[in-house]
């Protein structure tokens, strides 16, 4: 970990999968443990850090840049729960511009403002918009911004599909020095087969699951209060799960280069799981034994 700029981690995942919730709770758990943390929302929706800030508004970097020619760190950041410094990269007006390039420009600006040298974080978490749809969204794992990436996925096929796409990007860039994969965070675990399905996907792609986050009413309630689970329900089982993820990230975890499935492999794999799951109303589905 660099003393001056900290360990930079990117968290990817399909939109709506709970990526921001997971990232914010990890940030909160790291801060609770005494670390200095920056969370940068790299999503034009600009809602990555909302639950760290009690739902308060925060001007995005790109909106501020649009309004002012010269910015300071205080113009585009707010201190949230546990002292987490919250930044939202923001994006263009919906329907115009290029969000990926906007994120790139926003991160460049944060470097120009010496954010990392001045705040001296232990950890910087980049919460990056869903699918790696183009070069712009691959920038955090490509240009030496993040040293490791984690992917949040549920057992839904489209979430797995997005994770596999991220693996393709990591596979392409990691050999030349891009970020390596830190692991999969299995989120919204509810269906009886979900854990097994994600485990199997991890096996097939040469990766590993670093934690399982069950679907929980505590998360939904905390979000409605504009809080992380760590803040709103610190004694809950769910909070302990997030603390476990934070401990893993803070530790000297392994990273690797995933082996993404090609389209026919992914299709075949999905069909096999479709066959296994079909007709099942309850019970655990093993990755190896099937139903």
């Amino acid at each position: 970990m660099s003393e001056s700029t900290g360990k930079h981690i990117a968290v990817y995942g399909k939109g709506g999968i709970g990526k921001s919730t997971t990232t914010s709770n990890i940030s909160a758990a790291l801060a609770e443990s005494g670390y200095r943390v920056i969370q940068i929302g790299c999503d034009p929706k600009s809602d990555s850090t909302t639950i760290l800030r009690g739902g308060e508004d925060l001007p995005t970097v790109l909106d501020s840049l649009r309004e002012h020619s010269k910015l300071s760190i205080s113009d585009v950041s707010a201190v949230g729960f546990g002292g987490v410094l919250c930044v939202e990269a923001g994006g263009p007006v919906p329907g115009v511009g290029c969000a990926g390039r906007g994120i790139n420009a926003a991160v460049d600006l944060l470097h120009e403002l010496n954010l990392f040298e001045e705040f001296k974080p232990d950890f910087v978490l980049y919460d990056v918009l869903g699918d790696v749809v183009c070069g712009g969204f691959a920038v955090p794992i490509r240009d030496g911004i993040a040293e490791a990436a984690f992917v949040v996925t549920s057992s839904d096929f489209m979430a797995i599909f997005a994770a596999n796409n991220l693996f393709k990007a990591i596979n392409k860039y990691a050999p030349s020095g891009g970020a390596r994969l830190g692991g999969i965070i299995a989120n919204s675990i509810q269906a009886p087969y979900a854990k097994s399905l994600i485990d199997d996907f991890a096996d097939r792609t040469g990766t590993g699951v670093i934690g399982y986050v069950p679907r929980s009413l505590t998360v939904a309630q905390s979000e409605l209060y504009g809080r992380t689970v760590i803040e709103a329900a610190p004694q809950s089982e769910q909070a302990e799960i997030y603390r476990g993820l934070a401990r893993h990230i803070a530790g000297n975890h392994d990273t690797g280069i995933p082996k993404p499935l090609n389209p026919p492999e992914l299709k075949t794999w999905a069909k096999e799981w479709g066959d296994r799951v079909f007709g099942v109303e309850a019970g655990i589905v093993s990755a190896r034994e099937g139903i």
């Binding site: 309004e67 002012h68 020619s69 010269k70 290029c98 990926g100 390039r101 790139n104 460049d108 470097h111 120009e112 183009c134 070069g135 712009g136 691959a138 920038v139 490509r142 240009d143 030496g144 911004i145 392409k172 860039y173 030349s176 020095g177 891009g178």
Partner: protein, 447 residues
């Protein structure tokens, strides 16, 4: 992968302005405050960009190759300026959608196998910047395979309003090619930074050789061993100061920042400063008197450092400086601006890169007896009936440059017929434009 290197624009690095017309004193105050008000042009007739300027530097490096990664028009300047091999990836619609790393890899390899350059520069363009193409990986892979440096140039054509940012992008690409000096620095060797290679440069090299100095011309030659020199000086500070500063910061070669040796006194000062810095005897300052512009009102247009020095040269030749136009201005020019303001109190400064429409309006008001500057603006002046001399900054260097300008101005002033005939042709501009102030389209950016 190391973090992508950042390139500060000239606006951020030196508080640069690309549009201004007015008194010099408030401009100095703005530049010294570190927070100059950015001006914008609501209309611009010309728009040089950083890519063109970066290519002008890189094209001068002997034995290297350039791959312009973009649409073919992005390389348009190279047929005129490049001395070595170059290629353009000629990106098309398909490349912009599907990615262009293969096209880049092929172009690098093809250029290498045909021309065997010792290093290749990959010049980024707006297409690459917009698409976020990963050209660093392609360059690193090629470098590993071809066993030569393949360096990415961080130009994108639109991040800065000051084209000179491209000079800094080129310097950032050149510096990794300088080998560290294990044997220390040689007291008899200096780096001379210059982009234009003409008779003026040859003349200055001769003058420096007379000081018993071995001159390494950068970036054209000797880039590898630039760290072995005891000193770096520049003939074109606006174009090469980032390279000089980089050599100082990265390799400890002192960078002696001097006004360019344009004009008789400035040439002597330049040589004396180099002599003192290298422990040599300061040469004498005898020179012929050349007063060919006595009483003539002269308008000038050059890059800033050259323009301020050329204004002094005009006065050395007996002329009166009626107006000066520079391509941009930044905090590195504060000393020159103070000198300018002291010598010519009240004389406004015009800041414009090209912009013939502003120049024609301004020159029509100034009505100078003579214009001295680049060919495109000399034509603008001549069409107003103003005798014009076309010179490049290289033509003005040293004692030779003073004699050259004296000769050229004498010739032009003796034969004003051409300008008079050109002035009879219909103007390209409507009369209404001449009723407006030349800075009509220059506005302070409000944010």
């Amino acid at each position: 992968m190391a973090r992508k290197p950042q390139l500060a624009t000239r606006e951020k690095r030196l508080n640069a302005l690309g549009a201004y017309l007015g008194e010099v004193a408030p401009l100095i105050a703005e530049l010294e405050s570190g927070d100059a008000f950015q001006r914008i042009r609501t209309f611009a007739q010309t728009g040089p960009d950083d890519i063109t300027q970066a290519l002008s530097i890189l094209g001068a490096v002997h034995g290297t190759g350039i791959v312009v990664h973009g649409a073919r028009g992005c390389a348009a300047v190279l047929p005129r300026t490049a001395r070595g091999a170059w290629a353009v990836t000629n990106l098309d619609q398909r490349d912009t959608i599907l990615g262009s790393d293969k096209a880049l890899s092929q172009a690098i390899r093809s250029l290498f196998h045909r021309h065997r350059p010792w290093a290749i520069f990959v010049v980024a363009t707006p297409v690459v910047a917009i698409n976020n193409d990963d050209i660093r990986s392609a360059a690193e892979e090629a470098a590993e395979e071809l066993k030569i440096p393949v360096v990415v140039v961080r130009s994108d054509g639109f991040r800065s309003r000051i084209a000179a940012t491209g000079f800094d992008a080129a310097a950032q690409a050149l510096l990794p090619l300088v080998s560290p000096s294990s044997a220390g620095r040689r007291s008899d060797r200096i780096n001379l930074l210059a982009v234009d290679h003409g008779p003026g440069l040859d003349h200055i090299q001769t003058l420096l050789s007379e000081l018993r100095l071995e001159v390494q011309l950068l970036p054209a030659e000797g880039l590898h061993q630039a760290a072995t020199a005891s000193l770096t000086v520049s003939l074109q500070p606006d174009e090469t100061d980032a390279l000089g500063l980089g050599l100082e910061h990265q390799h400890g070669v002192p960078f002696l920042r001097l006004p360019p040796p344009i004009g008789i006194a400035a040439t002597h000062r330049f040589l004396a400063a180099v002599a003192r810095a290298t422990g040599r005897e300061v040469p004498g300052d005898t020179a012929p008197t050349l007063e060919t512009l006595t009483g003539q009102r002269v308008a000038l247009a050059f890059p800033p450092a050259a323009a301020f020095a050329a204004a002094d040269l005009v006065e050395e030749l007996g002329g009166i400086v009626a107006g000066v136009s520079v391509e941009h201005v930044d905090s590195s020019h504060v000393t020159a601006l103070k000198d300018f303001a002291t010598k010519r109190p009240g004389l406004p400064l015009h800041v414009a890169s090209g912009q013939p429409f502003e120049q024609v309006n301004r020159l029509a008001r100034l009505t100078p007896d003579l214009f001295i500057g680049p060919a495109d603006l000399a034509l603008v002046a001549a069409r107003l009936g103003i005798p014009a001399v076309t010179v490049r900054p290289d033509d003005l260097l040293g004692l030779r440059g003073a004699a050259h300008l004296a000769r050229q101005t004498s010739k032009v002033l003796a034969k004003p017929t051409l300008a008079a005939r050109l002035a009879k042709a219909p103007s390209a501009y409507r009369p209404a434009w001449f009723k407006r102030s030349p800075d009509w389209h220059i506005k302070i950016e409000v944010k």
